[in-house]
Amino acid sequence: MKRRTALQASIGVVATLTLAACGGGQTGSGSGSGQTTLTIALSSAPNSLDPAQVAVGPFLNYMDPAYATLLTRKADGTLGAGLADKWGYVGKGNTKFELHLRKGVKFADGTPITAADVVKSFKYFQKGSGPAAAWFRPLAFSTPDSSTVVITSPTPNPDMGTLFTPPYTGGAIISPAGLKVPKKLASSTFGAGPYVYSAQQSVSGDHYVYIPNKNFYDQSAIHFKKITVRVMPNVNSQVQALKSGQIDLMYGTPDVAPTVKGDKAITTLQKPTTWAGLFLLDREGTVVKGLGDERVRQALNFAIDRSAITKAVYGDYGTPVSQPQMPGYDGYSPEAAKMYPYDPDKAKKLLKAAGYGKGLTIPVNYGSFDPSTTKMVQAVQAQLAEVGVKLKLRAATNFGAWINDLLTKKYAATVLSPGTGGEPNFYAQQPPFTKTGIMNVFGVADPDVDAAYARLAAADPKSSEAASKDLTDVIVKKALALPVSGTDTIAMYNNKLRGVKFPDGGAQLTSNTLWTTR
């Protein structure tokens, strides 16, 4: 009898494994023809689904389906229509901007979107702590009629429209129903996008499912029956899932991107995104007297071999840069790119002329939670040692520790982990280099920088290029930073997807709602 039971159990196990094998394999959206679902893999779950709290970068993939923004970024890099179909500055001076809502637009719950709703959403956003909240806080709003919103800035802004595009999330309008229950915004969506978040089909922290929104104003723009964003912390697992057709797109790293080279089913895109290097915070020499001397800061820039470090740390997925912007982006200056060729002898001479012939020590804090940052800063440390400059490194194991260290003002320089950059110069250079910038923890006031920034702010948006380059030139000439590499964003996707690209002059992929399948 017992032997029979054992036999039955064995048959059961074999049957389960057979059933499993039949049910396994190509379960992903990428398999077979006529694909109508899209599955994206990301390494982290979103910190929140609330537009006022969410971090940007790849996390926008969680927001894009459910939150339509007032304006969008077209593939050629220019602003495009969104919930608003007309926009522009009012008068001169870059302080007043007007948005006209598209006719008949509704939130996903079916209620019409009015100018008053947009202002309520803006006001909620101002109170948040998201990356763009600081840009919204000084703004004032008015509504001349039910479909027009006027935004007034106390200081000139040559690129106000950008604030209403996806990467800034303030243009992702939240419905009044959502604003009534702010706590729910973190784990559900109340937008007007082409899809709605399905909490029933999702598991927070694991996968997030979006299904079509019947109230979206352009039903022809809904290309998928379902969009799923899967959280896969292990990037090697993402590659396996991409190869086996379980996911359609992932963001690669310099380590794994080479492993799909030669795979004809997979396309890889890469684009320089963020400059990595040292922010020289102590520009008045409060902690390290020498850093107050322009010659010392310039010496640091001459002392490092950017090409060698970039090759060693980022391989084929980085670009040597000596300015806080990358080729192809707003404010990139070809002249600034030539200012600091690798010349350790010149570095030594400058240090000697400044009275630091015997060297100096600079305390630097950095985030060791990003392996590339650690490698990069250690390489910089080794090269600066050759000219007598000692970097005393302090590693922060998490973001909170890094910020805490930064705010102590004990560190004369810091290293930011590469995030998503490629911002217009007006937004990119304000936090670290202007007097009121949030990254300028020592509160250094540099009249030349502030003047160049003010000129850019007031420039005519259509011809602001020269002013933007001028700002970069001033920052580089005064050596306010030690840029090393432009790090790439790497996107890897199966060839069935269409429309995946980096917009001109932008570092974020086009919205996932715009992609289609073959």
Binding site: V13, T16, L17, L19, A20, A21, C22, G23, G24, G25, Q26, T27, G28, S44, A45, P46, N47, S48, A55, S129, G130, P131, A132, A133, A134, K183, A186, S187, V203, S204, G205, D206, H207, R230, V231, M232, P233, N234, N236, S237, Q238, Q240, A241, K243, S244, Q246, F369, A396, T397, N398, F399, G400, A401, W402, I403, N404, L406, I438, M439
Partner: protein
């Protein structure tokens, strides 16, 4: 039996308090500021102060721990700093995945390990040597490497099983099982080596006992002697080993879940640690401790069932 269970349960309460206190204390030494981590660099000082007060971070560590214990007694493990989700709800969602792995791995490793161990004990010297080599390899090779190998062969090359992901049983039993096959196999490999070795040694020792010789002399079939009489004699060491193995499987799931991207407690603890999400780390530590206590309790119960002497002591 019940007094044994009650005694064990009573002892587990101070254990839980000690573990949670140590975790809390260690977390307080971790550099960084959870409120800063949550808010980022753009937050105003007012926002920062408000969140710090809401999280009790402005209180001494002892007070923070007391408030935490008080909440636990009310059945509240707190909320994730990042998503605002209840930690209890988070654990409830992810526990079935980890349990499926641990139980599946234990059953598979026990079945295969016992069969292999008995087979090896009843075969010749060459087979035993071969078994020793295979067993050594099985216990020495890390399970994450086995997992990557299994994925490359059975998921990517032959597409028999999915490379990653988990489907709830209620949604599709077939896909649920499909998603678990490779993770369970990779988790159980070291367990198979461990159990088979202990079973083999116990079986060899049992087979040399006098009462087995008597059974052989009485003409009982060798199959029956090995699988019915001798195997029962191996019960105590094998059950103890299975219990120990199951306990090692609990942290083992962290690696396996990460390789296969399963939404279990293992992936959650890694994410929470990276994000400095202290309430989640704390809640998961308590959950892992409870799991170890439960496994130990099960082993004790089985032990006392197999060995009446334990019950009388």
């Amino acid at each position: 039996m019940f007094p044994i269970i009650l005694r064990r349960l009573a002892l587990s309460i101070p254990l839980l308090v000690i573990v949670s206190a140590i975790t809390f204390l260690l977390e307080s030494f971790v550099p960084g500021d959870p409120a800063r981590t949550v808010l980022g660099i753009n937050a105003t000082q007012e926002q920062y102060d408000a969140l710090k007060a809401a999280m009790h971070l402005d209180q001494p560590v002892a007070v923070q721990y007391w408030l935490y214990l008080r909440d636990i007694l009310r059945g509240d493990l707190g909320s994730s700093l990042f998503t605002g989700e209840s930690v209890l709800g988070l654990i409830g969602q992810r526990l079935p995945v980890t349990l499926a792995l641990v139980i599946g791995g234990t059953v598979l490793a026990s079945l295969v390990g016992v069969v292999l161990g008995v087979y090896s004990a009843t075969r010749g010297r060459v087979s035993r040597r071969l078994f020793d080599i295979v067993s050594l390899l099985g216990s020495a090779v890390p399970n994450f490497w086995i997992a990557l190998l299994l994925v490359a062969v059975f998921a990517v090359k032959f597409a028999f099983f999915p490379a990653t992901g988990y489907t709830p049983f209620a949604e599709s039993p077939g896909q649920w099982a499909a998603g678990l096959v490779l993770p369970v196999v990779s988790l159980s490999i070291s367990g198979v080596a461990f159990i088979s070795k202990v079973t083999r040694d116990a079986m060899l020792s049992t087979l040399s006992l006098d009462h087995i010789r008597t059974l052989r002399a009485s003409g009982i079939r060798p199959f029956s002697i090995v699988w019915k009489h001798a195997l029962r004699g191996c019960g105590l060491p094998v059950v103890t080993t299975i219990g120990l193995m199951m306990i090692t499987f609990i942290p083992g799931t962290i690696l396996v879940e990460n390789v296969f991207t399963l939404p279990g407690l293992g992936t959650t603890v890694v994410d929470a640690t990276n994000q400095h999400d202290l309430p989640v780390v704390q809640g998961l530590t308590i959950t892992f401790t409870v799991m170890v206590i439960v496994v130990n309790l099960l082993v004790d119960v089985l032990y006392s069932l197999l060995n009446p002497k334990v019950r009388t002591e």
